[in-house]
Symmetry: C2
Subunit: 308 residues, 2 copies
Amino acid sequence: MTKEKYALGIDIGGTKICYGIVDASGNIISDVKKTPTPKTVQEIKDTLKNIIDENYDKIDVVGLSSAGAVNLENTRVLSSTPNLPAGYNSIDFSTLSDKKVYVENDANCAVMAEYKNGAAKGFRTVLMITIGTGIGGGVVSEGKLFRGSRGNALEVGSMKIFADKRQKCTCGRYDCWESYASGTGLRNCAIYGAKNYDEFKTSIFKDKSPDDLTTYDITDGVEKNDAFCKRVFNQWIYYMFVGLVSLTDIFNPDCIVISGGMCRFIDVEQMEKDINKETVVTDVKVKIAQTENRAGMIGAGVLALEQI
Amino acid sequence: MTKEKYALGIDIGGTKICYGIVDASGNIISDVKKTPTPKTVQEIKDTLKNIIDENYDKIDVVGLSSAGAVNLENTRVLSSTPNLPAGYNSIDFSTLSDKKVYVENDANCAVMAEYKNGAAKGFRTVLMITIGTGIGGGVVSEGKLFRGSRGNALEVGSMKIFADKRQKCTCGRYDCWESYASGTGLRNCAIYGAKNYDEFKTSIFKDKSPDDLTTYDITDGVEKNDAFCKRVFNQWIYYMFVGLVSLTDIFNPDCIVISGGMCRFIDVEQMEKDINKETVVTDVKVKIAQTENRAGMIGAGVLALEQI
């Protein structure tokens, strides 16, 4: 019998670094510890080295979860990561230990965590959609993370849901799904609605300038049964639905897992019914993510264990 | 050294059945033969049995390429296949021989053929888009066909490129990519244009009723430098571009292969430039398919060899 192998899973966030020891099934078998994310590249490297040293004898491999696009060798973060110090991209994570160190994008870690030990456990093809300020995604099918040719796949927030240059996205391009269906998208729906819907005239927010409306004005207003906010919110849900149906037809998932700050506003049972009524492929379950703030640690650990 | 294994690749088309012996690299190492597709299920079964018997001693496995969605076990075709006889779905292909018989959807066979021995040879992640009356797709990444949870993935023709129920598709749903960017889509663009573009008044087709315009009126008119046809065609190309950019952001392919009856009208070099200017992921090559009418045979053979 082969001895079970363990990974140190480390989630490098903008404000804190969380870590714990993970097995191949995605169980955390140690305490979860955290430390503030240092402000300089050198301090980040030193902190990671100390965390690895502290656990060295108990682990076979190290998995890191990080914001940003990762290189094909899973040793560096390539793209800009606004919440981490300048020069973060210069770190070659493989040099931090003589054990193998594997870094993966946080959205990819999250979908693997949900597949192994979260809402999507036991499903074959899992599409995870993270809805916050923007929209991110990840896919695991038949146990394997879909990475694309350079590890950049699942930039689903950039999928265009109009083809007539209707609304400019913060990225400078037009009609990205995330400019309609993210948290920012809900605000965009509110601004559009304030200028175009009669319901705004009698809304609790009628004295606000349209451009001052916020995402949470709308979700608060829905709770207060405000007709304007409900119309804006329903439009936002429809944009969410349009993207999710397209992705269902494209990936034929048997499970969609939704996560991120906006996911609590989505009625997943209703969304599941609506998607299954519209899709041309087989039915899908829609669920809320379960691994939450442990997703990065678990996913990075599981993915690192697959490398050895 | 292991003896090389061979598959009998059989492409079951609506009018003819083509077959040949294929190696794991996607080379056809025999003559390619063809026979008309019989009109009844019993005759199709008998014909396939005879073809297998004829090659029995030279092969290790049988691969079939067929229109329609295929079950997870790759033994049956599940969905309707209008060009094949009623009852075709009742055939359990695994019973046709004591050698393993593997059936796969024709679009999936085609992308595997292009990856192994066609335009996408040597690339890591290949997205194939077939543009005919509708739009179909397939993805191979890191050598593996992406099938989704039930083998239905890559229904890219159903991706929505508008989110305001603008145009009804022949499928009964709204705003499917194929209702804008397929051969049928070009005709839809023509009908819309005839009713909305001033250029129609001076077009060579100005005396036609908009609803009588055809796909090939427009492509002929473009060759004759007709301003109306050029505007319609450019709109169609833009719809094509919008879908291809979204799919590039979603799959991060390093190669897109375009095939089907409409592909000769697309300037792939220009499309490649336009996609790479717009995509948020790494650059992609856009190429025309090379395996053509041998795609089904090659892909089915290669995929069958992977099963043994």
